[in-house]
């Protein structure tokens, strides 16, 4: 990626950016002014995400995990501190289409077929028709939806729609995938299945993934790094590097190592709640 190289040069003299960090936040503050006074959505948040990491953000609502993700995506403007994505500012990274963003709801356009939905960002970015078709076919196969190209969203189940929305975020080959509780609205069984698929996808594409969730098993199962956050003000209370191997069958969730990490996450969440 040229972005990465340019960014690396530009930030060479900046000690805040470590060599391989794809996303780097330093002392990030974000304060919303509301009628009830200022709300500190984020306060003093610093974090480096390395290339190829799968980082989960977990915490109770109001802890700023989604806000942090939105800062990476340039959907929110921090009021203090700095954040770089691929070595450049979040706004420049967005303009360079450095990331794909998966929202809580699939948000597919009802008037477009699945194929049409996936090629929407490609149309916007000016890919040729043939290129669009090739990419749609490829990402549909990646999320195991091959053959559903000409179906309309309402013809698909909720889990399939969310897979289509992931395919849409993958179509333009961004190295970073930002996911905001993508499976939050789905039932447990579908969720397990999608988690398994997501890990396979991550292994195949070697993307850097930032993943917001409030399910402890989901966070532990998926991540190489788990970021525990707590509210008022939104801040990071613990960062846990997962000792689990990269290859994770679903039943890894019954192993002692898994339970130990889950325990530590739960402890972190409880500590964060202490000041309520």
């Amino acid at each position: 990626m040229t972005d990465l190289k340019d960014g690396g040069l530009k930030d060479a003299g900046n000690p805040a950016v470590t060599g391989g960090a794809v996303i780097s936040a330093k002392d990030l503050d974000l304060t919303f002014q509301t009628n009830d006074g200022p709300v500190h959505a984020l306060k003093g948040v610093s974090l480096d995400i390395e290339k190829g990491d799968f980082v989960s953000f977990i915490g109770p609502s109001g802890c700023g995990k989604t806000t942090f993700l939105r800062c990476m995506a340039d959907l929110e403007q921090p009021t203090g501190g700095s954040i770089t994505v691929n070595g450049v500012s979040a706004a420049e990274a967005r303009a360079a289409r450095a990331y794909g963003y998966v929202f809580q709801a699939a948000g597919l356009y009802p008037w477009r077929t699945i194929g049409g939905n996936i090629s929407l960002p490609l149309e916007i970015m000016g890919y040729s028709k043939t290129e669009q078709r090739a990419r749609v076919a490829r990402v549909l196969e990646l999320v195991e939806l091959a053959g559903f190209e000409n179906k309309f969203p309402w013809q698909l189940s909720g889990g399939m729609q969310q897979r289509a929305s992931i395919a849409r975020a993958l179509g333009f080959d961004a190295d970073i995938l930002l996911m905001d509780e993508p499976f939050g609205a789905l039932d447990e069984i579908v969720r397990d299945h999608l988690n398994e698929q997501l890990l396979k996808l991550w292994a195949r594409t070697e993307k850097t993934i930032a993943f917001v969730t409030h399910s402890i098993p989901e966070a532990v199962y998926l991540s190489t790094k788990i970021v525990v956050m707590s509210p008022r003000p939104g801040r990071i209370t613990d960062v846990i590097d997962s000792p689990l191997p990269k290859d994770r069958p679903l039943d890894i969730r019954e192993t002692p190592e898994f339970l130990e990490v889950a325990h530590r996450v739960r402890e972190g969440l409880r500590a964060g709640h202490g000041d309520d």
């Binding site: 995506a73 303009a95 289409r97 916007i124 970015m125």
Partner: protein
């Protein structure tokens, strides 16, 4: 078939009520005639007399039916006495006004959605415009346009436009704002331009709202065109037929013009409904 029975029941009920009402409404005249001829009216005679007067207060349905038949099917459509000719005069003004109103309405809606100043300033005026009685405004529009040498179709179309742009503005503002915050954020993450967001998201999302507005606008347009024909003493058009009918006490003519106007509106609205079904089905949004 099951849906046609309730409709027919209602129609039958209206017909029965209409025939029943014609008897007392037209009875005084029937009694007058009988008195002068010195005849005692039986009930059957009375009913027959009230349902067959030349200038009844309330014509019976079959009288209106006969008038409609004679002025549509049995007249050459280019004839000044053909209701089809008059309906076309009114319809042409309606369609022109409807087209202008739709374009104006969509343009205003786009302005309101995209421009904060327009959002704050235009909407109150749009609403205020509809509180002015059209009957008061119509003669002024006709006179002013006439003074600058515009007469005939266009002044009537302008009045149609005045009534029909309103539902389009209201519907389209709502439709263009119907995409969720999430969908707009999504566009933002793809670094989409404002025009891409409009053409690919806001406009398609507004289609169901547009068609609903168009149906209301079409009916309003027809009212506008008819009202536009009243103050000018126009010699053709459904409005002119209504006016002439009321001058000369030709109640049957008035009622047949009313039925024609209603039928016209029903056909046009049904046509828009059909286009709506086709378009939304092709967009995969059929309900």
């Amino acid at each position: 078939m099951r849906s046609i029975i309730p409709v027919l029941t209602v129609v039958a009920a209206i017909m029965a009520l209409w025939y029943a009402a014609a008897v007392p409404m037209n009875a005084p005249w029937a009694y007058d005639v009988a008195k002068r001829a010195d005849i005692e009216l039986t009930f059957t005679d009375l009913v027959a007399a009230t349902w067959s007067q030349d200038k009844p207060k309330l014509p019976a349905p079959h009288q209106v039916g006969v008038e409609l038949w004679e002025t549509t099917v049995q007249k050459n459509i280019t004839s000044k006495r053909s209701l089809v000719y008059h309906a076309w005069i009114t319809l042409s003004a309606t369609l022109l006004g409807f087209g202008m109103g739709t374009v104006l309405g969509i343009m205003l809606a786009v302005g309101i959605v995209y421009n904060r100043v327009m959002d704050m300033s235009v909407m109150p005026w749009v609403i205020a415009s509809q509180t002015i009685p059209i009957l008061a405004l119509a003669p002024m529009i006709i006179v002013v346009l006439n003074a600058v040498g515009i007469s005939g179709l266009l002044p009537k179309a302008v009045i149609s436009m005045y009534l029909s742009f309103f539902p389009v503005v209201v519907g389209m503002v709502k439709g263009l704002r119907s995409p969720e915050v999430m969908q707009l954020d999504q566009m933002h993450t793809w670094n989409a331009s404002a025009s891409q967001t409009f053409w690919k998201l806001r406009l398609p999302a507004s289609m169901p709202y547009l068609f609903t507005s168009l149906k209301v606008a079409m009916a309003a347009s027809l009212v506008g065109a008819i009202v536009g024909e009243l103050p000018t003493g126009a010699i053709s058009g459904l409005g002119a037929r209504l006016l002439a009918g009321s001058y000369y006490g030709q109640t049957i003519q008035i009622w047949s013009a009313l039925v024609m106007a209603a039928a016209l509106a029903a056909v046009m609205v049904a046509l828009i409904g059909l286009i709506q079904r086709i378009v939304l089905k092709r967009m995969g949004m059929a309900t």
